[in-house]
Structure formats: structure tokens, C-alpha cells
């Protein structure tokens, strides 16, 4: 049970960063970025280039990859989303599907379909009583908690955080208070690009780097974000943890390879009963 809980927390933390990125872009741009999974894959491959092909240590490759993909995410916004900004959330959602397909095919074109692995030393798992924790899990725990802490501090205590929260809360009022929405949008894509790259690295560490890796996480990431309340970025983290733990605990009563059913069930139940999420507020359209 303790082991399942730890595994669930790690699985939840793996979902937390892309769910946070999805929720962050949704709260400011009011559209669900279907390409979040492909962002994760792209980031993972950029880091693979740095780590394996250029021989950088993983932390350096991850930092460089995150910075590079953050800029690419802003570029994608300029090319694909910005011209459609006033067309509504559904149009942007469809555009993001196109972006997702394009990115995945770019990856396949340059890197092929074979799974790849980062160049990291193999180490024995650590034991804490009955609980086993491998180095990848420890890296995920530390990296995600550190990233979440940085994002939370930015959100709560910085001028940039107030800008983002203001635009998410009330874009017109933010504009008349002197906040440029286009600047905030650029910052949001920068942060989302970094978060998805970091999550891509961690997923790659946990399993493999492959073109499909983002697709595998798409449904759980959306479910986690909706579970928290998709317009409430930090609540998406709670949603991710809840979902990760629920998936792991479900293996007590069903085979491991069926655990994706839990995600489906949670998603269906939420959409039927509480579509604004556990921590979100009800949306009212006038």
C-alpha cells in the first residue's frame, strides 16, 4: 500500500507539470491546448539532442532544451494561435490539433520511430523500509516539487505573477490597468514551454523518449487539469496528484494495464457531475 502510494505520488507529479502548463495557457488564452502532449515530446527530444548527441550532462541539456523550447513555444503561438486569437476557443483547439500532428511528424522525420534513452548512469534503487524508490523517481520528486515551488512563487509574489493572474481573472480590466495581454501571453508560453520540456525529460527518464510519448499522457493530463479546475493552474497540480494516486490504488482491484480506465472514469464522472473541477468555480455564460 505504501509503495502504491509513493508510485501514485510520482505518477501524479509526472502529470503535474504538463497539467499546470495546460491550465496556465487555458486560464490566460481560454483554449485547451491539445498540443500539450506534443510539446512534451518535442522538449524531450531537444534534451535528447543535448544529452546524447552533444554529450551534455542531463541537467545542462534539460536547462538548454527548456530555454530553447520555451522560445519555440512562443514562435508556435505567433505562427499558429495569434492570428486566430479572436476566433474563439474551439477554433484554437482545432488549430492546436494541427500543431500537435505537425510537431509529432517533425519528430518522426528527424528522429524516426525507435525509442531512445537518455545517457544517465544506472543505479540501484534505494530502500526506505518496505518502500523502494529508484533514482528516476527521486529525480521526478525533486525536480517537479522544485519547479512547482518556483511557479507558485512567481504566481503569488511577483509582478509577472500578478500580470498573469490579472489577465486570467479579467482580461479587459487588466488592459485598462495597463497590462499588455500580448506580453502576458508570451510569458505564459515561455513558462508552458519550459514546464512541458521538463516533464518530457522526466517522462523520458521514467520510460523512453519516443514520438508517441506525449499522446500517452494527453488524456491523463487533460483529466488532471479538469479535475483541479482547468482555469486554476495550481489546482491542476492537486488534480494530477489525485489522479496519479487513484490510478495506482486502482491496481489493487484491477490489472495494471487497465488503469487507464480510471482516467476515463474520472473524466466522465467529472464532466457529468462537476465539469468546473474539484477546486474550480462554476462558469456562468451570459
Amino acid at each position: 500500500m505504501g509503495q502504491l502510494l509513493v508510485n501514485g505520488i510520482v505518477a501524479g507529479l509526472l502529470l503535474a507539470l504538463p497539467a499546470l502548463a495546460l491550465s496556465l495557457t487555458f486560464s490566460v488564452l481560454r483554449f485547451a491546448n491539445y498540443a500539450v502532449g506534443s510539446y512534451l515530446s518535442c522538449g524531450a527530444y531537444l534534451v535528447y539532442i543535448g544529452n546524447v548527441l552533444l554529450g551534455m550532462p542531463l541537467w545542462l541539456a534539460a536547462s538548454a532544451g527548456a530555454a530553447l523550447f520555451a522560445v519555440i513555444a512562443v514562435g508556435i503561438d505567433w505562427l499558429a494561435y495569434r492570428p486566430l486569437r479572436n476566433r474563439g476557443g474551439v477554433t484554437l483547439l482545432v488549430a492546436s490539433m494541427g500543431v500537435a500532428i505537425a510537431l509529432e511528424n517533425v519528430i518522426r522525420f528527424f528522429a524516426g520511430n525507435s525509442p531512445r534513452a537518455y545517457n544517465v548512469p544506472v543505479a540501484r534503487p534505494m530502500r526506505f523500509g518496505d518502500i523502494r524508490l529508484n533514482h528516476e523517481q527521486l529525480t521526478i520528486l525533486v525536480a517537479v516539487i522544485a519547479a512547482l515551488a518556483v511557479v507558485w512563487i512567481i504566481f503569488r509574489f511577483t509582478r509577472l505573477g500578478r500580470m498573469m493572474r490579472a489577465v486570467a481573472d479579467n482580461p479587459d480590466l487588466a488592459a485598462v490597468r495597463g497590462i499588455s495581454r500580448s506580453r502576458v501571453v508570451a510569458y505564459v508560453w515561455l513558462i508552458a514551454g519550459m514546464l512541458t520540456t521538463l516533464s518530457g525529460v522526466l517522462v523520458g527518464l521514467d520510460a523512453n523518449v519516443e514520438p508517441q510519448m506525449g499522446w500517452t499522457y494527453l488524456l491523463p493530463v487533460f483529466t488532471a487539469a479538469i479535475l483541479g479546475g482547468i482555469a486554476n493552474p495550481m489546482a491542476a497540480v492537486a488534480g494530477a496528484l489525485t489522479l496519479g494516486i487513484a490510478e495506482e490504488l486502482a491496481t489493487l482491484v484491477m490489472p495494471v494495464h487497465y488503469r487507464m480506465i480510471v482516467t476515463f472514469l474520472v473524466m466522465v464522472a467529472l464532466l457529468l457531475v462537476r465539469p468546473w473541477g474539484l477546486f474550480g468555480t462554476r462558469w456562468v455564460t451570459k
Binding site: A166, L173, A175, I179
Partner: protein
């Protein structure tokens, strides 16, 4: 505003509206529902780009500038609804009101905070409260306070008394009077004509997107036709 035509989706709601507010004066725009008052206000503050015509702020033509750039030039705005950041604390609302607009030479945040809280002592004890949890009257005060934080030269208020009790509306207009006395130019859209025109130097009656009358506020209030036809016979 000079000969402004503005509306939504290419359909004009304002048809060639022209008026001006002198520095330090208060102008109130009144008119029946659907007359284009909110469209006028959105055009004035930069949330809506006019189809034609010009918007001037002082000597500068700001027609093509968006709301953030106009705010940086000293134009503050309090919308009728959704005029606070509901998920932020009152203090954060005031901080956001100040930090993205105030010039480098402006008084410090602390100085402005004290000055604004002197105008709205009721919110001093609510600084840590979530703004969305306040009463309607308190929210209106927070919205006004936030708009005043950067020491604007022009303050635009859209229906400031909407949703307030008569007593709260009177209190708010007392504060508006004090703001006006401090030299801030005020452009107010108001449905409570007696209260609005009572606090104004000049009045504009807007009907069907056109200016029906522009005159000193006392004259507008005294005009029997205007009172009977458009102002509910106040």
C-alpha cells in the same frame, strides 16, 4: 471625441459623436438604456477601436492606442461590472492598479496607498480580504481606489452607482466629488441622472447613439423636454 462612429462587428452604435471634457472638469453622459453609453465609454478608454473619428487625450491623438497605452498616459477606468480582480486580495487589486501604470516619477506605492485609503477608509481593514468576497459597495470602492492608485489625470467611470443602495451611491458620489476637487478630470456615464448631473459641470444626453443635448449640467437637469423624454422626469 471627434465625430466618432463605433460599434461591434461593423454595425455602428455611436453615430458621429463629438464632445470634450476640459481638464479638471466633470462631464456626465446620461441617456436611456441602449443609447450607446457603454460603447462610448469603451471607445473612450481604448477597449473598442472606433470605425471612424478621433479620440484625443489632451493634445495627443490616442485613437489607435489600446487600453494599456491610454492607461499609461493617465487615463483610468472603472467598468460598470467585473471591475475588480475577484480572485486577488484587495491589496493586490490596488497593487495591480498602481504598478503597471505609475510613471517612474510618480509617488511611491506606499504614499499612494495611504492617499487612496484616506478616500476609502472602509477598505483599509479589508486589505487582506479576497476582493470577490466583498459586498457590492465595497467592491465599487476597491475598483475606484485601484483606478486612483497611479494618480490619473482622467478618471472614467461607467455607471458607478449601479447596484448600490441609495445611501452607498450617495457616499460614492461624495468621494467622486472629492476626487473632482483634487483636479482629476472625470468622465462619467450614469443612469442615476439626478445624482450624476448633480455632481457634474457639464452633461451630455445620448440617445440612439447620437448626442441629443450637450450643455452645463444644471441646464440639462432643468430642460423640461429632456427630463420628460429621456431622464424619467426627475
Amino acid at each position: 471625441m471627434c465625430d466618432v462612429v463605433a460599434g461591434y462587428g461593423g454595425h455602428p452604435i455611436l453615430h458621429g459623436v463629438s464632445f470634450s471634457v476640459r481638464a479638471g472638469e466633470t462631464l456626465v453622459v446620461v441617456g436611456p438604456n441602449g443609447s450607446g453609453k457603454s460603447t462610448l465609454m469603451k471607445t473612450a478608454v481604448g477597449l473598442l477601436r472606433p470605425i471612424s473619428g478621433q479620440v484625443l487625450l489632451g493634445e495627443a491623438n490616442v485613437t489607435t492606442l489600446g487600453a494599456p497605452a491610454r492607461a499609461a498616459r493617465g487615463l483610468a477606468y472603472v467598468p460598470q461590472e467585473a471591475n475588480i480582480f475577484r480572485n486577488m486580495s484587495v491589496l493586490e487589486n490596488l497593487q495591480v492598479g498602481y504598478e503597471f501604470v505609475a510613471s517612474r516619477s510618480a509617488p511611491s506605492f506606499g504614499v499612494r496607498l495611504d492617499a487612496v485609503l484616506d478616500l476609502f477608509p472602509e477598505i483599509r481593514v479589508k486589505l487582506r480580504s479576497t476582493a470577490g468576497h466583498l459586498s457590492g459597495g465595497q467592491r465599487q470602492m476597491v475598483a475606484m481606489a485601484a483606478a486612483l492608485m497611479p494618480e490619473p489625470s482622467v478618471l472614467a467611470l461607467d455607471e458607478p452607482s449601479a447596484g448600490l443602495s441609495p445611501r452607498n451611491a450617495e457616499i460614492l458620489f461624495e468621494v467622486i466629488g472629492r476626487v473632482a476637487a483634487s483636479g482629476v478630470t472625470l468622465l462619467i456615464v450614469e443612469q442615476n441622472t439626478r445624482l450624476g448631473l448633480g455632481a457634474a459641470d457639464h452633461g451630455v444626453v445620448l440617445v440612439g447613439g447620437r448626442i441629443r443635448l450637450a450643455a452645463p449640467a444644471a441646464e440639462v437637469l432643468a430642460d423640461p423636454d429632456i427630463r420628460r423624454l429621456y431622464l424619467g422626469g426627475v
